[in-house]
Subunit: 492 residues, 2 copies
């Protein structure tokens, strides 16, 4: 284990968090003050101070040693980085909100950096501006981290990096980067910034104020889902804003590498030749149509446009794991709720800011089943599996099946753990809470539905769910390896 490089990268992360806290502090003092704001600004100052201090300590600790980084260092940095960021990011909440346990603050902060969007606050609209800005900003940083940081860190790595890299961006890597990952990381960062700019301006044009536009931009492009209003997007009562939201959620649930490729080369054709994108769009359309039918059938008495928009909005919001709400979907007919639960598991595309198990994994899993089925009665026919004109190796396919099995195990074990912590939580709320956190969605169903929050849970449940968010965000391995004793051997 090369500790020096780990310390140096952690120093970099804390420097960035320090600057983010400082900018939230600046936003805070730009608005008129009352007591709550004073506390929020102090909390942010304190957080920024601790971040910079930690950055210096890590820099000192990492001043000697080689700069080489291997798999295990990369995994450790990613895992530790998100854990530490969530802890430091909890400081402003802890010091500015009354009667808030540190576990609750950690939950809110982890929910931000992992772009989950589950909240412990029941009254969001009355939080100080500075804190609302910080809360949204953590999601934007988290989203950027997911699409860029993986690539940036991996540009340090040798050829072996592709294993980790392609775990995250399965099947789309080679032709964009041609080995020049750093250029790739910069391009992705640029794309993220352009999408952010477009999104903020679009929100502003629908009539939102600049503060709300920027905060919602932060949480839309990162598919994070935090809002500045207690009622989430429903609070704006603006169809135009909802359509803008639908558009950008859909875009940010797509592979950023694919968007880059589409923009730089063949255009729209690129998208429709991509198996994952086509499946993603297909599921969005099918699920929306299905839920529109159900809502019309159950006759909830709104206008046709509002029903259609509401259904499309919720389907997009859940499948891209954003988690904005315009409707109380926890009160929809059961078939609609079941559909949303399934979409929570699916999630967006690989290489996007969305969570879930990712569309491509399910597509490959499904094809793998068909292959085994054919093998069952034609044992001697062996056909390669092709995804986007590229033949997948057996070990790649196996890796994806194993990922799905791992997700299944984590969900089952988490359901048991949370049911022990929260014996009175009914199974649907429990199951959806685990999915909502693990797959970085935000709201669940039942007692953790879109009108509810996670504030009533026990402190240890909040810590557990917070760690679950980070585990899901980093696709399990980066957190799980932290528990492997052999990772920590000095000279292994």
């Amino acid at each position: 284990m090369n500790y020096a490089i780990i310390f140096r990268l952690l120093a970099l992360i804390h420097l960035a968090i320090g600057f983010a806290l400082t900018s939230s502090f600046l936003v805070g003092i730009a608005f008129p003050f009352d007591d709550g704001d004073t506390y929020a600004v102090r909390g942010l100052e304190l957080g920024a101070g601790i971040s910079f201090l930690l950055a210096i300590i890590f820099m000192v600790l990492g001043r000697k040693g080689k700069a080489t980084i291997f798999h295990k260092e990369a995994l450790a940095v990613i895992g530790l980085g998100w854990l530490l960021a969530s802890t430091v990011g909890a400081i402003p909440y802890y010091f500015s909100v009354e009667d808030l346990s540190f576990a609750s603050a950690f939950f809110e902060s982890a929910s931000g950096f992992t772009t989950t969007g589950a909240s412990v606050f029941s009254d969001i609209s009355n939080l100080p501006h500075a804190l609302l800005f910080w809360r949204s900003l953590t999601q934007w940083i988290g989203g950027l981290g997911v699409v860029v940081f993986f690539v940036a860190i991996l540009s340090f790595l040798g050829s072996g990096a592709k294993v980790l890299f392609s775990r995250e961006y399965s099947g789309n890597t080679e032709d964009v980067f041609d080995g020049r990952m750093q250029t790739g990381a910069l391009r992705i960062m640029l794309l993220y910034l352009i999408l952010s700019l477009l999104c903020a301006v679009s929100y502003r044009l629908t009539g939102m104020g600049w503060f709300d536009s920027i905060c919602h931009m932060f949480t839309t492009v990162s598919t994070g889902g935090f809002s500045t209003l207690t009622e989430s997007m429903a609070g704006f009562n603006s169809p135009a804003a909802e359509w803008v939201s639908i558009l950008f959620m859909t875009l940010c649930g797509m592979s950023f590498l694919l968007i880059l490729r589409g923009v730089r080369r063949e255009g729209v054709k690129t998208f429709f030749a991509n198996l994952e994108f086509v499946s993603y769009l297909g599921i969005l359309v099918a699920a929306s149509s299905f839920i529109i039918l159900i809502l019309f059938a159950s006759g909830i008495g709104e206008s046709a446009h509002s029903i259609i928009r509401g259904a499309i909005f919720q389907v997009t919001s859940i499948m891209t794991t954003t988690g904005f709400a315009t409707q109380n979907f926890a009160a929809w007919a059961y078939p609609a709720q079941i559909t949303l639960l399934c979409l929570m598991i699916v999630g967006g595309c690989s290489g996007s800011t969305a969570g879930g198990v990712k569309v491509i994994r399910l597509v490959v899993g499904f094809r793998s089943i068909l292959f085994h089925l054919e093998r069952a009665f034609r044992p001697h026919v062996i056909r390669p599996m092709r995804v986007n004109k590229r033949t997948m190796s057996t070990s790649e396919i196996h890796e994806i099946s194993t990922f799905l099995v791992l997700a299944f195990f984590v969900v089952v074990i988490s359901c048991i753990v949370v049911s022990i912590f929260e014996p009175h939580l009914d199974p649907l709320s429990l199951f959806s809470a685990v999915l909502a956190c693990l797959f970085n969605i935000g709201p669940g169903l039942g007692e953790v539905g879109p009108l509810e929050n996670f504030g009533a849970l026990e402190d240890y449940t909040k810590v557990y769910l917070g760690i679950l968010m980070i585990m899901g965000r980093l696709e399990f391995y980066a957190i799980l390896v932290l528990f492997a004793p052999s990772l920590w051997k000095r000279f292994s």
Copy 2:
């Protein structure tokens, strides 16, 4: 496709069902008669007649052609055999119970032959003796079919058969059979008969009448779970009978091949050297202890012995997928219900009469995760996976992961389908109904809990769930291939 051999084997199956129907008819006329009994006996006569007729037709159809059988013929026979048996077996119910749709009769019959034990009847105790006997007998035949029929049919096959064979009895095959599968099938049949004899006598010794003893023996050794009483095992109010039940459920949830090996060779040592058995026992003990704690904590005010026995009974009953009930576990505290839901998925050991995904698959799936985890930070270390001193090939491991992914897909799709058919069924009832049918358990939770039944569901739901039972019982492939067009090509 060699249709001749398929017809001949189907003729054999229908001959066996005809004799089983005849024996139920004989039991019926041994008891004193009333109107219900008259109808039941007539229904059984009719069923027997149709079975024998079909047997003759199939024999005529299959009189010409080669006797060779390959993978696809074997799969087709197994799939068609269970489907046809369930359909013919529905005749007695349809003709002897008033106002019963054929879909309900098919559900009950499929529930029998697949050893599921879910019922559409709300009042079981008042069913005619002949029908109760037939109902239990179908489970005993189904259980025998699962452990023996696979082996017997596969003894026809060449070397390629091992693929299918080892899918069912993964990891335990070679050293018992040494290629002499027919001997193996006979030995398993003998073991099944001995266990049946011991079980029936044990029940009788606890004070049950012979009729109840034999009927419950039928449904215990097959881990089927049909009872002759509406209250299931609770109706006997006999701790001794419950302990007998616990013993035989546990035994029949074990691999029959392992029991054979233990009996014939090293004894108890064999069992504790077997990874699957040790895990199976470990889960049983852990889950029982956990539920005992929960029941004591929620203080339901029974005696300690009754709480302990009740917990062990329900854990064993659910994990071996038998489904007998002594308690209304749908009213237990949520953590206990969640635990039972998880046990439903686990199921018993491979090569037993139990359903579920099977312990060995989960153990291999779990180990596979650990392997990938190690690979994530030590990409160059490759270690073989050993199960019971045998190295598993990558393709075997992959096959198991794919099976788990397939199970996941079938559960998700079935939840959506059933929620469309039954829009008012709450998610817990829905999910547990799907698990209870697919994994051949019987009772679920909520509206399909141990005190409830499946009678209130729509006819198409019953047909769907009936097919789901067969699909689960045959581990998916034998039913899924029936939908593959290339299976049906005459000369492929």
